[in-house]
Every structure is written in C-alpha cells, then in structure tokens.
C-alpha cells in the first residue's frame, strides 16, 4: 500500500516537473510571438537591464509578459475550476463552459459594463463575474438536483447548456441595443488575453490565488469522493459541505478568469483529459497538475491565435472551442458506449 502510493507520488512529481518545463517553453515561445519583430538579445536586455524609453523593452515587459501571465493565470484558473467541478460532481463532462458558469459570468460583466449601476473598481470586477457565474450555476444545480435529490451528471449538462443558451440570448439582446458597448466588449466576449494588461493581471491575482489555495485545502476531502458517496460518508467526510465549498471556489476561479480573459471554454475539459487515470486518484498533486496543464493549454492556444493568421489576431476562445469541442465529443463517445 505504502509502496504503491509512494510510486504514485514520484510519478506525480515527474509529471509536475514535465508540466512545468512545458509551461516554461510555451511561455518563452509566447513571448517571442507578436506583431513587432524583436531579436532574442533585446529580450534578454529587457529583462536584465530594462530601459524605460526603449519601446522594445516596453513591449516585452508591459505587453507580452502581462499577456503571457494572463494566459497562465486564466488558464490555471479555468483548469483548476474544471477539475474541482469534475471531482465534486463526480462528472467527467463538468466544465465551467458546459455548465453555464462562463455564460453567467459574462452576463454579469456585460450588465455591469453597460448599465454601470455602480462604477466598479477593477479589483472588484472578478467578484461581480464570480457572482454571475455562481448565480447561473446555482440555478443549474437547483434544477438538476431538486426533485430527485441527487446530481445526475447528464441532466446537469443539459441544464447547463440550456441555461447558457438563455444567458447568451440576454447578452446578445443587450449588445444589439448598445453599439458602443458591443465595440468595447467584442473581443473580450469571445476570449481575448490582450485586454487587461499588467494592471488587470495584478487585480485578479488575489482572487485566483485565494481560489487555488482553497482548492488545495479542499482536495484531500474531495479525494474521498472518488471512492463513492457512501464510502466517503462512512469515512466521516461531510459530503454536502465540502461540495458546496468546492462549488463556491469553482465560481470564484471561473469568474476571475472570465473577467480577465473572457469566457474561454473547454480548458477545464481538456486539461484533465491530458492525463490518463487522473480522476481515479484525485489528489493535491493532480489538482496542481491540472491547473498547470490548463495554463499550458491556454498559452498554446494564444500562441496559435497570435501566429496562425498573423498579423490578424484570432480570438483565443474560438481556438479553444475548436480544439475543446472534439474532446467533449470524444469524452461523450467513450462514456456512453
């Protein structure tokens, strides 16, 4: 038993190391991409001896680094949110985009931006978005659980999709009637890491860090879920409370990520799918692994978005959609046969 688990730990460590090095390579590739050709030596210069008046240094330090960080932070949040959701709901198909969290968060952001009931400081936008995500997801949960008393995975996916459609109908209604907000939000709405800049990354960092730490703390309790609900109850885990806590954390992570990079879907579906048998042994290591993979996926998608049709930038969210929807199809096909 101990031998087995230590073998598992060392495998996990290897995977974590592998993932971190992939992340580093991707980050360097990402920073090299851009509309302005900048030689590698200048990049080193920019980091080692930044010159305030050199535009190349500015591009590296204030445009590309923040954009790469936005991808890393946002991707990690999306990946972690997806994994938390999947473990807590015991549902491989659970993902913020599929279950309506993204749609709820974007509805909240569009509402706040258009009608400005209160002028929100940037640092509070992630929380408004999280509130929207939690609201819509709460509705999905209520509809799929009430009456039967338990969360049926497939029903949840259906309700998630139906309510997402509803929220996006409301979003497009608002934007059709308001041309200028549409112009302001059109890129963000389909997922765009360029939007915020360094300030925005800093302003959501506390929320994401809070979410990741909370996720780490919850992981050991959630791990017992994989044994089945009755066993985890017998082991003394408070299934209900842990689950609620996990969902609140998910909403926080997802809302922060949406307010930074827009409603990008499927990262949380693809990240765990990269690692076979991850769901059988959910653990702290697995959680970090998935968060890192989410960051790597979003970085890779953003590299493609920048480079595929350069100089035209594609919306990052569309690329994760093109890559992630087949993963969803594959998961469904495997699940139901």
């Amino acid at each position: 038993m101990t031998a087995m688990s230590s073998a598992g730990h060392s495998r996990e460590r290897h995977a974590l190391l592998l993932m971190l090095s992939v992340l580093a390579v991707l980050a360097i590739l990402h920073i090299q991409q851009g509309a302005r050709p900048i030689p590698a030596t200048v990049m080193l210069d920019a980091v080692l001896s930044p010159d305030r008046d050199a535009f190349d240094h500015f591009v590296i330090l204030s445009l590309r680094l923040p954009r790469a960080s936005a991808c890393i932070v946002g991707g990690a949040a999306f990946g972690a949110a997806g994994f938390l959701l999947q473990v807590a709901m015991r549902n491989r198909l659970a993902e913020p985009h599929v279950l309506g969290l993204n749609a709820g968060a974007s509805l909240a952001v569009v509402l706040v931006t258009t009608y400005q009931p209160v002028v929100l400081p940037d640092i509070l936008m992630p929380f408004a978005a999280s509130l929207g995500a939690a609201g819509l997801f709460g509705l999905v949960l209520a509809l799929s659980a009430l009456g039967s008393g338990r969360f049926d995975p497939v029903r949840m996916v259906f309700f998630g999709i139906a309510l997402s459609a509803l929220a996006s109908a409301l979003v497009s209604a608002i934007l059709i009637l308001n041309e200028d907000t549409l112009e302001q939000l059109r890129f963000w709405l389909v997922g765009d890491a360029a939007g915020g800049g360094a300030a925005a990354v800093w302003s959501i960092l506390p929320a994401v860090a809070l979410g990741l730490v909370a996720g780490c703390l919850l992981m050991p309790q959630l791990a017992t879920f994989s044994l089945g609900e009755s066993i985890s109850v017998a082991l003394g885990a408070s299934v209900h409370r842990t689950r609620i806590a996990a969902l609140v954390v998910t909403a926080l992570l997802c809302g922060s990520a949406v307010s930074l990079v827009g409603p990008i879907g499927f990262v949380g579906l693809m990240a765990p799918a990269l690692w076979p048998r991850l769901h059988q042994r959910p653990s702290l290591g697995a959680f970090l692994l998935v968060a890192g993979s989410g960051a790597a996926i979003l970085l890779a998608a953003d590299i493609l978005a920048l480079g595929l049709l350069a100089p035209t930038e594609l919306p990052t969210g569309a690329l994760t959609g093109l890559a992630g929807a087949p993963v969803f199809i594959w998961l469904v096909a495997r699940r139901l046969t």
């Binding site: 851009g34 509309a35 302005r36 305030r52 008046d53 535009f55 500015f58 591009v59 204030s62 445009l63 059709i176 009637l177 200028d180 112009e183 302001q184 939000l185 890129f187 963000w188 765009d192 360029a194 939007g195 915020g196 800049g197 300030a199 100089p311 930038e313």
Partner: protein, 328 residues
C-alpha cells in the same frame, strides 16, 4: 464611375431644370435608378447620422427619422443637436424607431422619398414598396452623399453653398498648414488593442481632402475603413499629429480615453513624438463620426488649430492655470 455619372446627371438636371417639370432621375449607391416625378418633400430617413443630418443641413427637413434611445428612454438624433441644433424635441421630425424601424409608421406618413444607408438592416425591397427609396453609401464621404441628396430634394443651390464654404475653409487651412509635409494618423485604444482608422469619417475626409500623408500602416487600409492591430504596432502609428476620436457621449470621455491609453501603455506619450509635442489631439466622436459639412467645418478648424504655426516660447500647460484672470 458612379461619381462621374452622377455629376453628369446633376449637371443635366441643373440645365434642364427650368425646361422640364422637374422630374428627377438618380442613380444611387447601389446602382439602382430611381425616378421621382418632382423633388421630394416628404422624406423619411432610415439613418440619423448619415442621412438625417445632411438632409437638415440641406434644408430638406425630413418628416421622420431613425434615432436612438437615451438612458432615460427619450429618443435623440445622434450628433444632430451638436451639428445642426435640431433634434426630436425641438422639431416636427417623427421618431420611427432605433434598431428596427417601424415600417408601418413610415407607410402611414405617406413619404415621397425614403433614404437609407447601405449598411442598414432594413431591406431596401421592403422600403421600395412604401415609397421611392434611395440608398447612400456614407463611406464615400459627405460631398458625394450631399450631391445625391441635393439632386433628390432639389436643393442643389444649398449643396453648392455648403460645398464652397467647405472648400474655402479647406483652402484657408492649407494656406497656413502645409499638409503634404505632415504625417497624421487616427486611432484609439480598444481594450488592449488599437483601433486604427483610414481615417474616421469627417476627420478622415478633411485629412484626405487637404492632402495629408499617413503612416504606411494606415495607407494600407482601404479608404474609409478601420482595422484592429496589436498595441505593439504603436510606433508604426506615430506621426506629426495624432487624432483620437474619443467617446464624447460619456461623462469626461476624453479623460477616460487618456486613462484607457495610459492603462494599456503606461506613459505612452514617451513613445509618440506627436504626443510629446502636444499634438495627441482628442476629438469628440459625436462630431467626427458625422459625414456632414457641419462636421467637416469643425474638423477643418481642429486640424488648423492642431497644426497651425505657434509663436516662439510656446509650451503646453498640463491643466488650465487661469493665470490671466485675477480672482474676484
């Protein structure tokens, strides 16, 4: 091609005007030939900034117009009060809707001419059933649109007056500023990107008519259109003067625009020579967006102020100082 054909038509109409009972034939910007038995009097406009304002300025007051809804639910004509002084609340122009216009209300008004813009959603096929309809393309600029509208409403004299006023103002500006020696650009921040214009409606018309030069990036954009580029291209957009059409419909829009630019590129001024020289000019979008002679006039004045000669010892003050006026 269309332009020259149109000019011939207008000339023909002018020559024949006294002889024939003033029937007008127009080739509109979709290439449709429209014949009016006489110059239109009951005109319905399907687009406020590009149709209604020119009609008001020509003196052919429309009987009804497309408009927009303010936050308090009151309809208004975008930019119109600013440029013509006329809006729904101080005229007899009926409001016929915003996103989709109310075609039944149009039918009930029995117009003798409907004017729509080429990008509007209302199908021309439906408008045609209600009254003769002409389609204008505002990307072709105010002089072209005014010529078309003047021909349809018999306001050629007014059109000539407005056009010669504009030409005279332009000549005055060119006498002080040497456009061919200056490079100008028009762009604005857009959430982490730059929205670059070739070169934004009224301001673009003035800049092109005067013969200013543009950075190569802007020269590559088709005339009248815009592209979104990465902020990394910022130095490619540097020029002698930069115009930024800020959102003037918001409170302190110009300040918000600078703040948005500053958030994106902290201390952006140091990378733009135009900005360092005090020539990053914020122009109100409600004026710059309108393809009208009123807007062109304003834009000529702004360009002349931005580029005209200045006395020696000149230095910009960051905020108004009020030095010259003694406190009471």
């Amino acid at each position: 091609m269309i332009r020259s054909g149109l000019l011939t038509l207008i000339l023909a109409a002018l020559v024949m005007a006294p002889a024939v009972a003033r029937a007008v034939t127009i080739v509109d910007d979709r290439g449709r030939t429209v014949t009016l038995t006489r110059p239109a009097e009951r005109i319905v406009s399907d687009y406020d900034i590009d149709v209604t304002i020119p009609l008001i300025e020509l003196g052919a007051m429309p009987i009804a117009s497309h408009g927009r809804l303010a936050g308090d639910g009151k309809p208004y004509l975008r930019s119109s009060k600013l440029l013509t002084g006329i809006d729904f609340d101080n005229s007899d122009i009926a409001f016929i809707g915003a996103a989709e216009i109310d075609l039944e209300a149009v039918a009930a008004l029995k117009p003798d001419l409907i004017v729509t813009e080429i990008s509007r959603a209302t199908p021309v096929e439906k408008l045609e059933k209600l009254a003769p309809t002409i389609v204008i393309n505002s990307d072709l600029g105010a002089p072209h649109v005014y010529a078309l509208l003047a021909a349809a409403t018999g306001k050629e004299a007014e059109f000539k007056r407005l056009d010669s006023r504009y030409r005279a103002q332009l000549a005055l500006m060119k006498a002080e500023v040497q456009p061919e020696k200056h490079v100008v650009s028009v762009f604005q921040p857009l959430r982490g990107k730059l929205n670059v214009y070739q070169s934004y409606r009224a301001i673009g018309q003035v800049l092109r008519d005067a013969g200013f030069r543009f950075p190569p990036l802007i020269d590559d954009i088709p005339e009248g259109q815009s592209i979104v580029v990465s902020t990394e291209r910022l130095p490619d957009l540097d020029a002698d003067v930069i115009f930024d059409p800020y959102r003037s419909d918001r409170k302190q829009g110009a300040r918000a625009e600078i703040a948005a630019m500053e958030r994106m590129v902290p201390g952006f001024c140091r990378f733009l020579s135009a900005c360092r020289n005090g020539r990053y000019i914020l122009i109100p979008r409600e004026e710059a967006i309108s393809n009208s002679y009123a807007a062109l006039s304003r834009m000529v004045a702004i360009v002349q102020t931005a580029l005209g000669p200045r006395p020696p010892g000149y230095r910009t003050a960051p905020e108004p100082t009020g030095l010259a006026i003694p406190a009471r």
